[in-house]
């Protein structure tokens, strides 16, 4: 019943035997024990399970592990350097962009994808871009502030 799947997760090559119906979120959390990827709604609405697949944000609860065969996956665990925080994580901390923190891994990864845009997004564009990530605590004000600052810091770091 099992089927072999190979991918890069946070820079490390991974090969495992999975059932075809295994979702990427379950694969990351249960097979690889990378529990930083959170499963909120499990219906592809809330975005807590957002990870980057080949640099693009996807909801890992709505993707099969076998669909990302050969791809490169980045989870929240793979974002930060060995010591300290990724600039986006640091910005979320500095601007109080989280309260309970459940949505934060998805928020941060979703925000990191925005760095690939040719010019920095406006507040309105950030809000629009975070359409697929729900936060039930903050009311989004500080998240938008954090994302703006994080993107500026990422630009500076590069």
């Amino acid at each position: 019943m099992g089927i072999s799947v190979s991918m890069k997760v946070n820079g490390k090559a991974v090969t495992a035997e999975v059932e075809p119906r295994t979702l990427l979120a379950a694969f990351l959390r249960e097979t690889l024990s990378l529990t930083g990827t959170h499963v909120g709604c499990d219906t592809a609405q809330c975005g807590a399970c957002t990870v980057l697949v080949d640099g693009r944000s996807v909801k890992s609860c709505n993707v099969l592990a076998v669909q990302v065969e050969g791809s490169s996956v980045t989870t929240i665990e793979g974002l930060a350097p060995a010591e300290g925080l990724h600039p986006m994580q640091a910005a979320f901390k500095r601007h109080h962009g989280l309260q309970c923190g459940f949505c934060t891994p998805g928020m941060v990864l979703s925000a990191v994808e925005l760095a690939a845009r040719p010019k920095p997004p406006t507040d309105g564009e950030i809000r629009e871009a975070l359409d697929g990530n729900f936060c039930r605590c903050t009311g989004y004000q500080n998240i938008v502030r954090a994302v703006k600052a994080g993107l500026a810091d990422m630009g500076g770091a590069q």
């Binding site: 499990d42 697949v53 944000s57 996807v58 099969l64 669909q67 979703s110 871009a129 359409d131 697929g132």
Partner: protein
């Protein structure tokens, strides 16, 4: 979801001849996987189309824009060719779902699924596009047959869609405030042959006025606006008389709002619910049998005591 066999062919031929009884083709999976998780679909075999290079790519010339079935919404939204030839289509693609969904969801998947709340069907109809499959070419007016239904046969795979380049085109939709799906979406295009109008569905209870060909677009728009108005709990007296009689798909809340008086639903909702433990002091006098059973009577009384 139920277990299934998974196939990842690299050619269209292999995809068509994949083994299995109940075969479903998997494009981006943004609708199909959710459907399977709810066990509304349980195919025995899932055939991924992601590895088939022929289904990708966007090609344009002066008169025609051809988009591969596996082009994601994000790719269509960001494509320079699409932006130059049919900017309305790029705009439409950039407004589907959310960013994560646009990174996975595909045009072919959307058209094969034909969700009435999807955006692409209106563009295909509005622009008079041609759906190209592994077996034939289907003109837009003949492709869609009903909610979630198309003329596609089992094992027929959409390979691309060709859009004639219009003189002008635009797409507009009302989003459901919670789900962000289109309550109603309308695509209008000025083509060489004249003006075409097409709509996606509105969540109108009962029969859906208007047809996919846009021949009753005006009625459809009006219905969509009314559906929106109902969601926003407009004052009942401003509604169409027929709507007052129909509880509506979202009618529970609207009905309670009306019982609680005009304005927002919250108060009416609370007031219309009988208290768990009846309090003697708030009970209706025994001489008023209608008030004893009528939630509206209860709400009036409680409102006035506050």
């Amino acid at each position: 979801m139920h277990p299934f066999n998974y196939h990842a062919p690299s050619s269209l031929k292999d995809a068509q001849s994949a083994k299995g009884g109940d075969v479903k083709y998997l494009a981006g999976g943004q609708s199909l996987l959710a459907t399977m998780k709810l066990r509304l679909a349980s195919p025995s075999d899932l055939v991924s189309l992601a590895g088939i290079a022929d289904l990708r790519g966007i090609r344009a010339d002066a008169a025609m824009l051809t988009i591969g079935a596996m082009a994601t919404h994000a790719e269509v939204a960001a494509s320079a060719e699409v932006a130059a030839q049919v900017p309305a289509l790029a705009d439409l693609a950039g407004g589907i779902g959310d960013r994560q969904v646009r990174n996975r969801g595909t045009m072919g998947g959307s058209l094969a699924n034909n969700d009435p709340a999807a955006d692409y069907p209106a563009a295909v109809l509005g622009l008079g596009a041609t759906v190209i499959t592994s077996k034939r070419k289907i003109v837009a007016d003949e492709y869609f047959t009903g909610l979630y239904e198309t003329v596609l046969e089992p094992r027929e795979i959409i390979t691309a869609v060709s859009f004639p380049v219009p003189k002008k085109a635009a797409y507009e939709k009302f989003k459901n405030p919670a789900s962000r799906f289109a309550l109603v979406g309308v695509f209008v295009a000025q083509t060489a042959a004249g003006v075409r109008v097409a709509r996606d569905r509105c969540r109108w209870r009962g029969s859906i006025p208007g047809r996919r060909d846009g021949s009753r677009a005006r009625e459809t728009l009006v219905a969509g606006v009314r559906a929106l108005a109902r969601r926003r709990h407009e004052r009942p007296e401003r509604r169409h008389p027929r709507e007052r009689r129909i509880p509506g798909a979202f009618g529970g809340g609207a009905r309670r709002a009306r019982r609680g008086g005009r304005g927002l639903g919250g108060r009416g909702y609370r007031a219309s619910k009988p208290p768990c433990i009846p309090d003697r002091s708030t009970r209706p006098p025994p001489s008023s049998p209608t008030a004893a059973t009528s939630p509206s009577g209860a709400s009036r009384r409680r409102s006035s005591s506050r």
